[in-house]
Subunit: 150 residues, 2 copies
Amino acid sequence: MTDLSIGRLARLSGVKVPTIRYYESIGMLDAPPRSPGGQRRYGDGHLEQLRFIRHGRELGFGLDDLRALQDLSARPDRSCEEADGIARKQLAEVERRIAGLEAVRRELERMVERCSHGVVDECRVIQTLSDHHLCAGDHAPDHQTVPRDT
Amino acid sequence: MTDLSIGRLARLSGVKVPTIRYYESIGMLDAPPRSPGGQRRYGDGHLEQLRFIRHGRELGFGLDDLRALQDLSARPDRSCEEADGIARKQLAEVERRIAGLEAVRRELERMVERCSHGVVDECRVIQTLSDHHLCAGDHAPDHQTVPRDT
DNA sequence: CTTGAACCTCTAGTCGCTATAGGAATTAGG
DNA sequence: CCTAATTCCTATAGCGACTAGAGGTTCAAG
């Protein structure tokens, strides 16, 4: 019971103070006991829990998946099939996003390379946006949010 | 003046009806004239404008950047330096995100490969999330939203 | 005991949409 | 011409995962 304040927990975990409170509010992080004055007092378990969440977020897992993984890690005798499935799903998703972004990168490179550095009227950047036929291949990315890199 | 309904415009542009209205509401798309009954009637210019936006979104540009690029394309005699800069910034951003995702992919692969398919207690997936030291390298992605691929 | 940093709750905003409710207009078929 | 099906309208709220701000309270160092 190291009795950490929220600020110390934030520093130790790499998760910002408002985010910790947010996690508690949505039931991702166990609510800690409070000091006589009503301030949160965390123990080592909370720190572990928060590092788990943070690491998972860095790997792009959604909070729902992380909740499921948390629940699983609390039942160490169960088969890890489900955990494995969640991780594989995430890997597939990441691969999908990389592929989409690679296509986008190629297209942006083409645009930028061919820019004549003249006037807008002849600018490949603008032209390409206006006319999709100037594009080489397909590109149409995806949709997800992952944490900051502060 | 092809006098398109919003639904036809949606089909032709690949942008959903509510999204078109949303774009109008935030000033991304010019407000069209209305039918006697109050329904939107679009012309070819709107279709072009919408395709420009859609294409830009597919390439990951934010709406603010696209607004700037739209403004530039309306001034064809200006230098395309600014447009070029926006595109380069976007390219850099995309490259940054790919690099982050590659790191994440490697880590997820490691996790999944080493899963013993036994019980949770011995599961690499859960273990790795709990303990960052089991990770190979750095990973800590980014932050952005790109359209769906419906 | 004072001061200033850190804490508290609550609300609202971010981005780019998407969904729903409750109606009004349009269009195709008979 | 009439009806029914479809499309359209506005307005509001919700998504994920936070972030920012206001206005007030508690804690810890000196």
